[in-house]
Symmetry: C2
Subunit: 192 residues, 2 copies
DNA sequence: GTCTATACCTGGATAGAC
DNA sequence: GTCTATCCAGGTATAGAC
């Protein structure tokens, strides 16, 4: 797979996370890369094609991360921690995440792209749910709702945490991140 | 203030919440209203002007709601409940909120509009923080983090809850909403 | 206050040369 | 694989008539 193609994918993803899907153009990509608009269309005939490719790449990246963590025998605490580190990194770079960015524009996306977005979010939620459930049964986590509800709750906090941090203060995300851990960390005698 | 102007504001806000700020045009407004593009420009010379007006309107609406709740002597539980009802309504209508929508596009907004967005979110967070703090001291709420962190956490869950519900299932928001209440509701003997 | 008409630009996309 | 050149649609915005 060509390096130019890779670079375009990377740049386009960054643009979605900083300017939004409807806020960037092929020109944004071509000027940064020092090539012409037509060259970008050579790799990705349409913007929809580009957007769908980015989602497919992200799904694949996610699957690889999960597989990798299993190969290393990460326990559920380490797994969830790794996942949350992705969000800490995004916050440092003043980016939001694909879920929040494309979620805003969902009604303007083509059906294939919307389907890919749903697939990505579905995978993430299912994985997080399973990790929380398994972690709880091992005593690594403690929480009251169903694992699925807790997964949705955590993902929500992460997704909008990035958005709020970009509007208010970057440092606010650290507190949100911290609050998630306190919510699921078991304490011998949790005081309420 | 003219009824046409009001209607444009209302429609434009709805478009931001369904298609995103960079995903709607003056045409979307004029066709629905049965007027021409130029008529919309008569009321709002530029799109930035329209966007800023929407934010100012929302800030005012929020202030009025807070004032109204104080006049009715709502306790903090009722106040937070009223606030969260706004989000329940948005979810029913398949909308996200201004914070999530404009948060995605923040880097493409003009400086005045960005400032207004920050002002709006700042007000909301400050109000929620104060309500949580006062409610906790009265025993209406129970939570461990600082009131500000708890406010950010709740607002995050609401903002992204709408986004996730629109991507996955509408009914998911109910669970997220429920989880927030369980998080701050005091129990005599909370089991963990 | 709303219209017609139009100017101007940007964005997505394609054809065909190199 | 990248270029030039170009097309077309749509979006923002304005001038001036009614």
């Amino acid at each position: 797979m060509s390096v130019t193609r890779e670079k375009i994918l990377e740049l386009a993803e960054e643009l979605i996370l900083t300017k939004g899907y409807n806020g960037f153009s092929y020109q944004d990509i071509s000027t940064v890369m020092g090539i012409k608009n037509a060259a970008v269309h050579y790799y990705f005939p349409s913007k929809e094609n580009l957007g769908t490719s980015i989602l497919k790449t992200n799904i694949q990246r996610f699957e690889e991360m999960v597989e990798n963590m299993q190969n290393r025998n990460f326990d559920e605490h380490q797994q969830v921690e790794s996942f949350m580190k992705i969000y800490l990194k995004s916050n440092r770079e003043n980016k939001i995440c694909l879920i929040g960015s494309l979620g805003t524009d969902i009604n303007t996306l083509s059906e294939p792209m919307r389907a890919e977005l749903q697939k990505m979010v579905g995978r993430i939620v299912n994985w997080l749910e399973a990790a929380l459930e398994a972690g709880r049964s091992k005593g690594l986590f403690s929480f009251q709702p169903s694992a699925r509800d807790q997964a949705l709750h955590i993902l929500s906090a992460l997704v909008a945490g990035l958005q709020l941090a970009r509007i208010l203060n970057k440092s606010d995300f650290k507190n949100i991140h911290q609050a998630i851990w306190e919510e699921i960390t078991p304490h011998a005698n949790k005081q309420l």
